[in-house]
């Protein structure tokens, strides 16, 4: 048993639902108890889908367990096929049904339903949501794709976008447009909006564009092996990666590809003097492996941030992410334990987090701004406007996304110059973020106030147990901050205060000092000046 508070990924059958819900003309018959239907609301509420997910739940109850759950499955399966008339069905079990071992796949295959039946084996007690999506899509491709000749023109498939994916809708549109500009026609996008008949046509393309390795890699590998279709390895997030992606396309197609960068604004926006203040901002990245790795490059090479740590929650990506972290000279954090991520953030106290909605909430509590770059998703990750993160427009979107949470250049200076202003103080937050300016209260410990901003929705008793929060920063149990140094520290704006404290303490420790004075603070500042 593993004690869990929040999870980054749902169970594998939710991954299968992401594939089924993305597709058209496919139905999922899920052997599951009452209550598992909660997953429908992820799609209808978070993603605002206007259709129910195409899923039939057998809804067995305790009294059925001794009787005939198998028959219940068969009835549900037949009724679903009669009512929804899908081109194919996928069948499987949720965690509870896995335990009663009815073998839904075997049963459905013997039912003579007149359409392809694709059985899913998703081990609920070992694997998670991304695996479920990847495996389901792979099984669908394996069962439905048909050998055939290539199209005359150069075509590709786009693999991996699903329902509930992070910005998948707009990424697909952006990349489809980019490919079209390069003279490459998209044969099929899958699973998003694909029908089983479309899946059958996959092998007609010359190669595959794998946009989302988390949910499409098994299918891409199978198509490479069985239909001789190479697939792209570069995820086109950011200006540099998009250029590399185009270079990779040129290698695969064997043609020089001319492209137009006139819409790409990130390089100039980043080079213009207004962005100088972004230099060396210390950022921590966490999310799914693919997004984190792509965003680390954007953060360091295209925004001029300093990457101080990175991690992912999906172990499947641990190896490449560790390699990249090593190259960046930072530790890789591979965990699906939300509390461990929180502890790491408290220790490192970055100036900004690039994370998921979970890290956004951690950041809110710690007073660290956060830009969301990866699933798990929230209703806010489905904006009404066009908002890709891939391709050239995606790079533009990312520039805005990464700048928005920060206090802007001149404002940052003003805060530094006039720290004691009663309404323009650092706890008031960035002036372009409405609704949470708080008047400075004459409180003995303003740092605590800054770390638990008043706008936080969480009532105090919900907050993380105090032991973690009050744990002194490393070394401070032997170091003593003198009162005037402590006061001086509080004059430093909150978004760099954590760094100043840590730097001063490590400097003091290095020098073998026991007490920290104002002098030490500024010695340390000079020492670490860049």
């Amino acid at each position: 048993m593993k004690l869990t508070v929040w999870t980054y990924e749902g169970p594998p059958h939710v991954g299968a639902m992401r594939v089924a819900t993305a597709m058209k003309g496919l139905h999922y018959v899920l052997h599951a108890p009452q209550g598992d239907t909660y997953a429908d609301l992820l799609f209808t509420m978070i993603e605002r889908r206007n259709h129910r997910p195409p899923v039939t739940y057998t809804t067995f109850q305790a009294r059925d367990l001794g009787a005939d759950t198998a028959n219940l499955f068969k009835t549900a399966c037949q009724e679903a096929v009669d009512r929804f008339k899908p081109q194919a069905i996928i069948v499987g079990a949720s965690c509870t049904a896995e335990l009663i071992q009815d073998d839904p796949g075997g049963m459905a295959e013997t039912m003579d339903l007149g359409i392809p039946v694709i059985p899913l084996e998703l081990p609920s007690y070992q694997r998670k949501e991304n695996f479920g999506a990847d495996e389901t899509f792979f099984q669908i491709v394996k069962h439905l794709s048909k050998p055939q000749g290539r199209t005359n023109r150069i075509t590709c498939n786009i693999l991996g976008p699903t329902a509930l994916g992070f910005r998948n809708r707009d990424d697909v549109e952006e990349i489809t447009g980019l490919l079209s500009d390069l003279g490459i026609v998209v044969n099929v996008v899958a699973p998003l909006n694909a029908t089983p008949a479309d899946i059958a046509r996959l092998p007609a393309a010359h190669f595959n564009v794998l946009l989302y390795p988390e949910t499409g890699e098994a299918a891409a590998r199978w198509l490479e092996k069985n239909h001789d279709q190479p697939f792209t390895k570069v995820v086109p997030i950011g200006a540099g990666a998009t250029r590399d992606f185009i270079a990779e396309l040129a290698r695969i197609t064997g043609k020089p590809l001319a492209y137009d960068e006139s819409r790409l604004r990130l390089p100039w926006w980043s080079a213009s003097v207004d962005s100088t203040y972004l230099t060396g901002k210390r950022v921590f990245l966490f999310g799914d492996g693919s997004h984190v790795m792509a965003m680390a490059r954007v953060a360091r090479d295209e925004m001029g941030f300093e990457v101080i740590g990175m991690g992912c929650y999906n172990r499947e990506m641990a190896r490449p992410l560790r390699a990249m972290a090593k190259e960046y000279g930072v530790e890789a954090l591979i965990t699906d334990d939300y509390l461990e991520v929180e502890r790491t953030l408290e220790e490192l106290s970055p100036e900004m987090i690039l994370g998921t909605q979970m890290e956004r909430h951690i950041g809110k509590r710690l007073g660290i701004p956060c830009a969301v770059i990866s699933a798990p998703v929230h209703v806010q990750d489905f904006p009404a406007r066009y908002s890709p993160v891939m391709g050239f427009e995606g790079a533009n979107v990312l520039f805005d996304t990464l700048v928005h949470p920060l206090v802007m250049g001149l404002e940052e200076h003003l805060l530094t110059m006039f720290r004691e202003d009663f309404e323009f103080h650092d706890e008031a937050g960035a002036s372009h973020h409405g609704g949470h300016a708080t008047r400075r209260i004459a409180e003995p410990d303003q740092e605590v106030a800054a770390r638990q901003p008043a706008q936080d929705n969480a009532p105090p008793d919900l907050s993380i147990s105090d032991e973690a929060k009050e744990e002194p920063a490393s070394g401070s149990d032997v170091l003593v901050w003198l009162a005037d140094a402590e006061r001086e520290l509080k004059k430093i704006p909150f978004f760099v205060r954590g760094k100043a404290r840590r730097n001063t303490e490590s400097y003091a420790a290095e020098k073998g000092l026991q007490k920290i004075s104002v002098e030490t603070l500024y010695e340390a500042k000079a020492h670490y000046a860049r």
Partner: protein
């Protein structure tokens, strides 16, 4: 004079009930933890279940409450299923870990789930052992919130029912109000009862273990929520007596509920009127204002929280609506009987669910307002039906006089919104 008038054509108590069996689009009982853990401030709910249970709890509230909550999941792993790990020892280990982390916890609920029930992990044995070990600081109880046994609000019923046997014995003549209410609503209720001279009102659940309620042969109890069948039975087993009444939704329901208690405690009619006249008038006025958009409209209830019958009674009698179908996961006649008596004949009363068939009926009926769960609301809106998501009725203060207008407002807002939006393309 305080008794509500019965419908002229008769009520729904004897109406035939359409019983259905099939796919259910409802939450399981674990969902109750979302509000119970907020209500009981020294309690922790530990679900012994799967990743699905953890994911449900995280998603069910519609919003995620990302702070360390007072609930968690001990996720079963392969070794637990293969019998390689002793489940009792594993529960002990996780509980030790949890209590070390949260020394403020006084009551711990071990909550069974579908997988823990199927593989038969004996949580009552674990609760007994752990209770003995951690007494008197922590009391450990257990109940099942599994989907194979409980539907949505039945989870709260199971949680409260498991507390009843350990409530201290008392001979005091006391009123216990059963069902988790928002704090503000609970305070209003206690103020009303106290003004009538009924003091020492106890609540189940109490906010803290020390504020606890005793029970015995002189206890009378009133239910604040209609889904508390098992708790009702458990209290009767302890010798307590139920005061049946319509539920305190709307002006009429609140008055009838209070009147039943007043009668039990021999409150003089004059006192009752003195206490209730002003809030009654306020409630009537508020409901009249808020129900402007509801008057003359029809409503269709999908089964969800078991609040459907009392709410249909409120909407039909106080807001001028017509009910087409009133679906409920379960119908306990002894509990919702008084509401059924008052609900005018006409609607289909259905129990259980076959969601596809019910959707066919809802599409045929095209009610002005369809009350349903979150999984169905947007798809039905896309088909042109105005909907009210049912879960909000459980998460919002809606009981008693001062909330009567808000309750009507919850139903009228979708209709009002539909009438003000001009977002369709011109024809």
């Amino acid at each position: 004079m305080n008794a509500p008038t019965l419908p002229v054509g008769g009520g729904c108590r004897t109406a035939p009930v359409l019983k259905e069996r099939g796919q259910r689009e409802v939450f399981c009982g674990l969902t109750g933890i979302i509000w119970l853990h907020r209500k009981m401030q020294d309690a922790f709910f530990l679900v012994v279940g799967s990743r699905t249970c953890a994911h449900l709890l995280q998603s069910a509230a519609g919003v995620m409450i990302f702070a360390e909550p007072r609930f968690g999941t001990a996720i079963l792993e392969e070794t637990d299923l293969a019998g390689l790990a002793d489940s009792q020892k594993e529960v002990d280990r996780v509980v030790e870990q949890l209590l070390a982390r949260r020394p403020d916890i006084r009551q711990l609920f071990l909550v069974g789930s579908c997988p823990s029930e199927v593989i038969k992990i004996d949580l009552s044995r674990a609760a007994e052992r752990l209770s003995a070990k951690h007494a008197p600081h922590v009391r450990v109880l257990n109940y099942s919130g599994s989907g194979i046994e409980t539907t949505f609000t039945q989870g709260e019923d199971a949680a409260l029912a498991c507390m009843v046997p350990v409530l201290p014995e008392t001979d005091a003549r006391e009123l216990v109000v059963v069902g988790a209410l928002p704090d503000v609503v609970e305070d209003q209720m206690i103020a009303l009862l106290s003004a009538m001279g009924i003091d020492n009102v106890r609540c189940l659940p109490a906010q803290r273990i020390d504020g606890e309620t005793g029970v015995g042969p002189n206890t009378v109890f009133a239910l604040a929520q209609p889904f508390l069948g098992d708790t009702h039975a458990a209290l009767e087993r302890r010798g307590a007596r139920h005061i049946p009444a319509p539920f305190p939704f709307g002006e009429e329901g609140t008055t009838a509920w209070l009147a039943a208690i007043a009668a039990e405690f021999d409150v003089p009619a004059q006192t009752f009127e003195a206490v209730t006249d002003a809030p009654r008038a306020r409630a009537r006025k508020a409901v009249a204002q808020a129900s402007e958009h509801l008057n003359g409209k029809s409503v269709f209830f999908f089964p969800d929280s078991q609040l459907e019958i009392p709410l249909a009674r409120f909407l039909t009698r106080e807001c001028g609506m017509t009910a087409i179908e009133v679906g409920s996961p379960y119908i306990h006649d002894a509990i919702v009987g008084p509401d059924l008596d008052l609900l005018p004949q006409g609607p289909v009363i259905s129990e259980g669910q076959d969601v596809e068939k019910q959707l066919d009926r809802a599409r045929a009926a095209r009610a002005d307002l369809t009350v349903c769960g979150l999984g169905l609301a947007n798809p039905l809106e896309a088909e042109g039906l105005a909907t009210k998501w049912a879960i909000e009725l459980v998460f919002t203060p809606v009981h008693f006089y001062e909330q009567a207008g808000d309750l009507a407002g919850l139903f009228s807002r979708p209709l009002r919104r539909k009438s003000i939006l001009k977002v369709e393309a011109a024809e």
